[in-house]
C-alpha cells in the first residue's frame, strides 16, 4: 500500500517536472514546479519526515514559488510567443547528458549503504513517536548544528540586504 502511494506521488512529481521544463510560458512552468514540490512533500511524509514536508509546502511551494510568480508578473512574461527552447543540436546534447547522468545516478543508487553505519529498521519512526515530529529535528539543530544555524541567520540577513540593494533603481 505504501509502495503504491509512493509511486503515485513519484509519478506525479516526475510528470510535473517534465511539464515544467517543456512548457513555453513561464507561468505554466512555475505552476508545474509547484505540483512537483507538493508531490515531493507527499514523498517526505512517506519517508518519516513530516516536519520537513510541512516546511516544504510552507517555504518552497508557498514563499519561494510566490516570489517566482511575483517576478514573472513584475516583468510581464505571461505570454511568450516564441519558444525559448534551444535548437536540435542543443536538445540532443541535453538529452545525451541527461541520460548519461540518470544512468550514473541510477547505478550509484544501487550501491548498498554500509551496514556498520546503518540504524536498525524503523529507528527513526520510534524516535519520532517517542519525542515528537519537531523535536527530532530541533534536538540536533540546536545542539550539534548550533553554529551552522547561526551562520544561516547571517546568510539570510545578507540575502535580504543584497536583494534590496540589487533591486533598487539607483545604487
Amino acid at each position: 500500500m505504501t509502495l503504491v502511494i509512493f509511486w503515485l506521488f513519484a509519478a506525479v512529481a516526475i510528470a510535473a517536472a517534465l511539464m515544467c521544463i517543456t512548457r513555453r510560458s513561464a507561468v505554466a512552468s512555475a505552476l508545474w514546479l509547484v505540483t512537483t514540490l507538493f508531490s515531493l512533500a507527499g514523498l517526505f511524509v512517506l519517508l518519516d519526515a513530516q516536519f520537513i514536508a510541512a516546511l516544504q509546502v510552507l517555504v518552497y511551494a508557498g514563499a519561494i514559488m510566490v516570489l517566482f510568480l511575483f517576478v514573472i508578473m513584475l516583468l510581464n512574461l505571461g505570454r511568450q510567443t516564441a519558444t525559448d527552447m534551444r535548437g536540435w543540436p542543443g536538445r540532443l546534447v541535453a538529452l545525451a547528458l541527461g541520460l548519461l547522468l540518470v544512468t550514473e545516478l541510477w547505478v550509484l543508487s544501487r550501491v548498498p549503504v554500509l551496514a556498520q553505519i546503518q540504524l536498525p529498521a524503523g529507528t527513526l519512526r520510534q524516535v519520532t513517536e517517542a519525542h515528537g515530529v519537531v523535536s527530532v529535528i530541533s534536538g540536533p539543530l540546536f545542539r550539534t548544528y548550533l553554529v551552522p544555524f547561526e551562520v544561516t541567520s547571517m546568510l539570510l540577513l545578507a540575502a535580504i540586504i543584497g536583494a534590496v540593494v540589487l533591486a533598487k533603481r539607483r545604487v
Binding site: T2, L33, L40, L43, A63, F68, L75, V136
Partner: protein, 98 residues
C-alpha cells in the same frame, strides 16, 4: 524499504533539472530548474535520513534556508538584468563571453 525507489526518483528529478538548465534559454526557467535540482537532492537526504538517523533532515533544513536566500538574491539580479537589457534570453546576456 523505500530507499532504492527514493534514490531512483531523486536521480530522475535531478537529471530533469539538468536537462532543463541545458535546454531552456529563459533565465527564470533556468532558475526554476535549479530549484528542482535542489529538491531532488533534498529527497536523497530525506531517504537516507530514514536509514542513518535524523541528521539528514537537519541538512535539508539548511538547504531550504540557502535556497530561499539564493532565490531572493537571484531574482533581484534577474530584475536588475531585465531593467538593463530588456531581455531574459541568456544568449543576449553575453557580456563576459570572450
Amino acid at each position: 524499504m523505500l530507499l532504492g525507489p527514493s534514490l531512483a526518483v531523486s536521480a530522475i528529478l535531478f537529471s530533469l533539472g539538468v536537462a532543463g538548465v541545458l535546454l531552456r534559454r529563459n533565465v527564470i526557467i533556468i532558475f526554476m530548474c535549479i530549484e528542482l535540482m535542489l529538491n531532488a537532492v533534498n529527497l536523497t537526504f530525506i531517504a537516507l535520513a530514514q536509514q542513518l538517523g535524523p541528521d539528514g533532515q537537519v541538512i535539508v533544513f539548511f538547504v531550504m534556508a540557502v535556497a530561499a536566500a539564493e532565490a531572493a538574491v537571484g531574482l533581484a539580479i534577474i530584475i536588475a538584468i531585465y531593467r538593463h537589457k530588456q531581455t531574459l534570453d541568456v544568449q543576449n546576456i553575453n557580456l563576459l563571453r570572450g
